[in-house]
């Protein structure tokens, strides 16, 4: 048994005896995730159902100086929910209600346990959608959004955290606060024009409080969709095309994957690409309200391709397999949400170095990563996605590895850390980063940034109970 029975008894009094445990067998699945991050056991697992229960748990944790780790499904690929210092793992899956879908204003309000599957099904009944990234259907919409998760509409709207419109949060010390328009009325429509206090809880990896309700903007499903594809021999050429295309702001998404990521599953260990195969494959999803709108976007896309070709960018025509096309146009889909592309037959391990990086650095970093990965006998299975905003986006290297073999795990860990090390000075900002990535990032960080981060953390969480260790500063 972990923890002690005195604390367990208090937790059970708060949530009910069946929803708090310190039994090692029952806590074991919470001690590790897909990645190479070292496992740690929690001392307690507790499953609250209400905000009031969360408040009481946090007050208890403060009084007793016990770490608290928020958790919903544990599907993040960064070890974020592994309890570095033990403590209370707060599993929020029982808080699974969609509280409001407001199509008149265009937002929805959800609890942490609402899965992408549940949310997308409910929204679709109203003709609406929300960004669905590469994750299982059970993944939490709220956890994804507050941790800067991406969705399938990132070319149109940016990342999912940019869609947040309001929130309710329980501070580490147990107080409840509403943020955004919901602080003034029962409307959850906007964070603006108020001070951006939501930023105290977005991207902090659960180290500053527990977000208990989230308002997000939702968008109407466009009935016409198509996928346009093109290939290239080099990362430089595919990047030039992607930037030129996204400049027009006509797509829902534009992504490119290296040959190794296009394989199902990713070759593990490294396999040489056939000489006659292009190294990069790109797809872009376009959508519209009519066939005419779609035809216009196709025409504009063709013009971009021709214009880039005229500039000497070598682009190769290729057709997307029909099933893959269906997967992209009928989102959310099992094809996109599945892990089989990445991890089938590899031995259970999956992690990545990446991700938010200026597009101009993609080819430079990719070529360095390729050298590192081939040296480590791993496939350079890289994805580029240009998010709305400046020309920046995902540069991510999906890495399967064999968890049965400690040497293979260590090899993957070393390769990935090496990638982060070369990437950060070129603009790479890892998202949902494991602690070991933070340690690299913080070497390069502006001291003022670290000071501010630390001050805010200390202010909100004076006893350092919230997911300790996960920022690499506290």
């Amino acid at each position: 048994m972990g923890g002690n029975d005195r604390i367990l008894k208090q937790l059970q009094e708060i949530v009910g005896p069946e929803y708090a445990t310190n039994d090692e067998a029952l806590m074991y699945p919470y001690s590790y995730d897909l990645t190479w991050n070292d496992p740690h056991m929690p001392d307690y697992v507790v499953l609250p159902k209400t905000v009031e229960q969360i408040q009481r748990i946090l007050r208890l944790a403060n009084k007793e100086r016990i770490p608290v780790v928020p958790y919903v499904t544990g599907t993040n690929i960064g070890g974020l929910c592994i309890p570095e210092e033990g403590g209370i793992l707060m599993d929020l899956k029982r808080m699974d209600q969609i509280l409001e879908i407001n199509t008149e204003v265009g937002y929805a309000v959800i609890e942490p346990g609402v899965s992408h599957a549940k949310f997308s099904a409910a929204l679709k009944k109203h003709g609406y959608e929300f960004g669905w990234g590469v994750h299982p259907a059970s993944a939490s919409v709220l956890a994804m959004a507050i941790n800067h998760g991406i969705g399938h509409l990132n070319g149109r709207f940016g990342i999912n955290s940019q869609m947040i419109s309001s929130m309710e949060v329980v501070l580490p010390t147990g107080e409840v606060a509403k943020i955004g328009s919901c602080a003034y009325s029962n409307s959850w429509h906007s964070l603006y024009p108020l001070p951006m206090l939501a930023g105290l809880f977005i991207g902090w990896l659960g180290t500053t409080g527990i977000v208990t309700k989230l308002g997000v903007w939702i968008s109407k499903i466009r009935p016409y969709k198509d996928v346009l594809t093109i290939a290239a021999e080099s990362a430089e050429d595919i990047t030039k095309y992607m930037v030129a295309w996204r400049d027009l702001e006509l797509c829902d998404e534009v992504t490119a994957v290296s040959w190794w990521l296009a394989q199902v599953p990713i070759p593990y260990p490294y396999k040489e690409k056939p000489a006659d195969a292009p190294e990069w494959f790109s797809y872009t999803v376009i959508s519209g309200w009519s066939e005419e709108e779609l035809a216009y976007k196709r025409k504009m896309w063709k013009e971009v391709v021709e214009r880039e070709r005229a500039k000497g960018v070598k682009l190769i025509d290729y057709e997307y397999p029909p099933e893959a096309k269906r997967g992209r146009t009928e989102l959310p889909s099992r094809i996109v949400g599945s892990t089989k592309n990445y991890s089938k037959a590899c031995g259970g391990g999956l992690a990545w170095p990446g991700t938010f990086t200026p597009c101009k650095s993609w080819p430079i970093i990719y070529n360095k990563w390729k050298e590192i990965y081939i040296r480590h006998n791993l496939s350079p299975a890289v994805r580029f996605t240009d998010f709305r905003g400046s020309h920046y986006g995902m540069l991510r290297l999906m890495t399967p590895f064999d968890k049965r073999d400690p040497k293979a795990v260590e090899n993957a860990r070393k390769a990935m850390k090496e990638c982060v090390e070369v990437g950060v000075p070129l603009g790479l900002l890892p998202y949902k980063p494991p602690v070991e990535y933070w340690n690299i990032m913080n070497k390069y960080a502006d001291p003022g940034w670290i000071m501010l981060l630390t001050k805010i953390k200390d202010c909100l969480d004076p006893n350092h109970i919230m997911n300790p260790g996960k920022l690499g500063v506290r």
Binding site: A25, A121, S138, G347, G348, P406
Partner: protein, 413 residues
């Protein structure tokens, strides 16, 4: 082979054999949710009855099972009462397997059974399962009944008319023999009315399904070997059964091995045609060989038994039979076919955890009620039993009927 892996405990022989499969579980949580996209609607629902009830990740889907197996094999966990509870509250419904997309998928059910096989070594098996397991060795049924009473459901007049040789042996199964006898009777009456060349075995033993599902493979083998001899004895080419659990046992457990690279589960030499009664009837309907005498003017919804549906992918035959019945209005529950929700009885759960089992059944009954149906039907006497108990307990106005019962009301004799 996994058993040779240097980092796993060798004494968990049955689990160690599966280590290479267990390791393929990425811990991704795909198994926790049933979902599918569609042009009009996206389907999304909880599929795991165990996770739905106990909520902790140690109970949810195949991820929980691989995690427990890993913990044991890597000596991080001991086989405690908590492990026993997490292992034996699984109904083996296969909803997690339906959603898994890793290479763990083909070995998920086998892993659950292997965890249970290991549990026997430590005596970490629920008392109720131990009780019926002791009984089944002697009386060949898990219902604490006498083997000599097995055919008591069969009227003498029918018994005497059964041929010594026939194309098919009707494999009745324990639940229809001792509890839901009306299903056995309805099945026999239908076969007679339709002219199916069948007989009923004088010495049928339990198909072994409860033994397979609770990890007692060696004992199950004894049952399979006995039942396999029945075909020769009656000169039959195959079995017809009206039970989903028997169907899976006869069709898959007796005849199919495990995923490539692993030795056969039983190692018995048994190859035979195995049909569910609704498959036989559906085929005759398709050929125009079934005549009806009246109408069944009721709204009916169908519960897919996990063992017939997800495990053996028989989804359409029972529906074809129901839809062919004059007057019957058929409605689907939201969770149907591969996304069906378990009745809560399987995997030894009904005997070992009756309250939780009925709670699960009640969720299914509530789902059936929401369709507006008056009749809840299925093709498994064991599902029948649990669902009808839940209907009674809830005071529901629904009525439970087996597909054969409905059919026998309107079939031209």
């Amino acid at each position: 082979m996994g058993a040779e892996h240097p980092l796993v405990r060798k004494d968990y022989e049955k689990l160690a054999e599966l280590y290479n499969y267990i390791s393929m579980c990425t811990h991704c949580s795909n198994c926790k949710y049933l979902y599918e996209y569609g042009a009009k609607e996206n389907f999304a629902a909880i599929g795991c009855p165990q996770g739905d009830k106990f909520k902790l990740d140690s109970y949810f889907g195949s991820r929980a099972k691989s995690s427990l197996a890993r913990g044991l094999l890597k000596d991080k966990l001991q086989f405690t009462d908590s492990v026993m509870h997490a292992v034996f509250t699984c109904t083996t419904c296969g909803a997690c397997q339906q959603m898994c997309e890793t290479d763990f998928k083909p070995a998920i059910m086998r892993t659950i059974e292997a965890l249970r096989a290991e549990a026997w070594r430590f005596g970490k098996v629920p008392e109720a399962i131990k009780r019926w397991s002791n009984h089944i060795k002697v009386e060949r049924n898990p219902y604490m009944e006498k083997h000599s009473d097995r055919l008591n459901w069969l009227p003498n007049s029918v018994k005497e008319s059964l041929p010594k040789k026939a194309t098919y042996v009707y494999f009745v199964g324990c639940t229809a023999s001792y509890r839901q006898k009306q299903i056995a009777l309805a099945t026999v009456n239908i076969f007679k009315a339709l002219g199916v060349d069948f007989t009923v075995a004088q010495d049928e033993w339990c198909c072994g399904s409860p033994l397979f599902r609770t990890g007692q493979w060696e004992l199950a083998k004894e049952f399979a070997e006995h039942n396999a001899t029945l075909l020769d004895r009656y000169g039959a080419e195959g079995f017809i059964t009206s039970c989903a659990g028997c169907y899976k046992a006869l069709k898959k457990d007796y005849q199919e091995g495990l995923p490539e690279g692993y030795k056969d589960k039983l190692g018995i030499n048994f190859e035979a045609k195995v049909l569910h009664s609704t498959q036989v009837i559906a085929e005759m309907i398709r050929k125009g060989e079934v005549e009806f005498k009246g109408k069944f003017e009721k709204v009916v919804t169908y519960h897919d038994p996990c063992h017939l549906g997800r495990h053996c992918e028989v989804y359409e035959d029972p529906r074809e039979v129901l839809k062919a019945i004059p007057g019957l209005k058929f409605v689907e529950m939201p969770r149907n076919r591969k996304f069906s929700f378990c009745c809560g009885a399987g995997g030894g759960v009904r005997a070992a955890f009756p309250e939780y089992s009925l709670e699960t059944a009640a969720k299914r009954v509530a789902e059936a009620e929401e369709t507006g149906a008056e009749i809840l039907t299925s093709t498994c006497p064991f599902c029948y039993r649990n669902l009808s108990d839940a209907i009674t307990l809830a005071g529901s106005k629904m009525k439970m009927m087996d597909v054969t019962e409905i059919l026998s009301e309107v079939l031209k004799k």
